[in-house]
């Protein structure tokens, strides 16, 4: 048994809509120094799903290299996001453009999207109303929608009601590295989203700064973690990628293992009887 347990593959897969995944860590592809560094970090992270953004093709390009030349499309399921959109309509347009590209690449990621509708260019915090609106439109258009949102529990519930395949509350603002600032809200989100639907996937998206943040998120019972900056902007991205890979498994296992309760103080780990006198 022990060896089975020691092997993360012993854990159940995470199911997000029609996608069945081994790794519970989803990583972004932004902010790397080079495409090669990105490629290596994706590998070390052990992720099955990687996020990408949709942008205007530069009409004149420095060296003509495209990120797709550095991504193994047979290995990774691509999750296109709608980053940079500040209205529901723009988000819907971008989601369709991303789908069109992924269809051409015959990547399984063509049927889903990470929906991001932002409310402010400075903080990049999500806009609840516009996100719910865009979610409805994209669900009607056949997308499996993974919604980036704040940790507001009622917004999370409304997104699920709007047909979201997964709700992805932020632990703290994108790239802030503050981890999960309000575990209480995440707990209430879980209560809402998993009520009579234990397998509904809840993924913490944004705010993670270091390995313990990832473990902590998983220990709350979340199904996965999505991050980018914490790896890409670490001093040593490769090493941090490996740290995140293991922290995600460790946190998941700790949740499954059932931690000891917190107490004000002490219970002996060495027996007290039989002490010499």
């Amino acid at each position: 048994m022990t060896t089975a347990i020691a092997n993360p593959s012993a854990d159940s897969d995470i199911v997000i809509g029609s996608h069945v995944l081994k790794s519970r860590l989803i990583v972004g592809t932004g902010k790397y120094a080079t495409f090669e560094q990105m490629q290596e970090c994706l590998e070390v992270s052990g992720a099955d799903v990687i996020t990408v953004a949709v942008r205007r093709e530069r009409l004149v390009d420095a060296d003509g290299r495209n990120i797709l030349d550095f991504i193994d499309l047979d290995r990774y399921t691509i999750l296109p996001n709608t980053a940079g959109c500040f209205s529901a309509d723009d988000a819907v347009r971008v989601a369709r453009l991303g789908r069109e590209i992924l269809r051409g690449l015959e990547n399984p990621g063509s049927d889903w999207v990470k929906l991001e509708v932002l409310g402010d260019t400075k903080t990049l915090l999500p806009d609840p109303v516009a996100t719910i609106d865009a979610c409805r439109q994209l669900v009607d258009d056949g997308f499996q929608v993974l919604c980036y949102t704040s940790d507001d529990p009622i917004t999370a519930r409304r997104l699920k009601e709007a047909g979201a395949t997964s709700v992805m509350p932020a632990g703290s603002p994108i790239g802030s590295g503050q981890g999960i600032l309000n575990p209480n809200n995440i707990r209430i989100c879980m209560e809402y989203l998993k009520q009579d639907d234990a397998d509904y996937p809840v993924i913490v998206d944004a705010g993670v700064g270091t390995a313990s943040d990832v473990s902590f998120a998983m220990e709350l019972g979340c199904d996965g973690v999505l991050l980018n900056t914490a790896i890409a902007s670490a001093k040593n991205p490769h090493l941090m990628a490996d740290a995140m890979r293991q922290a995600c498994i460790a946190g998941r296992q700790a949740w499954l293992a059932g931690r000891i309760p917190r107490k004000l103080y002490a219970t002996a780990s060495s027996p007290l009887d039989g002490t010499i006198s």
Partner: protein, 67 residues
């Protein structure tokens, strides 16, 4: 020649030029991009048949690193 807008920049192309012609002229790998014409997606299979009209607003997008 007709005048259109591509990714926000003014540009003149052959009258009767198709989306596929435009991409070739731009030297863009068709496989890596998607095209919008006046806010409407133009599916890849229609690139050849979709003829540009004066004043068309074209968006050509690809994938980039993101989180």
């Amino acid at each position: 020649m007709i005048s259109i807008e591509v990714n926000g920049e003014r540009r003149t192309v052959e009258a009767n030029c198709s989306v596929r012609d435009l991409l070739q002229e731009l030297g863009i790998n068709n496989r890596y991009c998607a095209v919008e014409r006046n806010l409407q997606l133009v599916p890849r299979e229609l690139h050849a048949d979709c003829r540009l009209k004066p004043g068309d607003r074209i968006e050509v997008v690809t994938l980039v690193g993101g989180g």
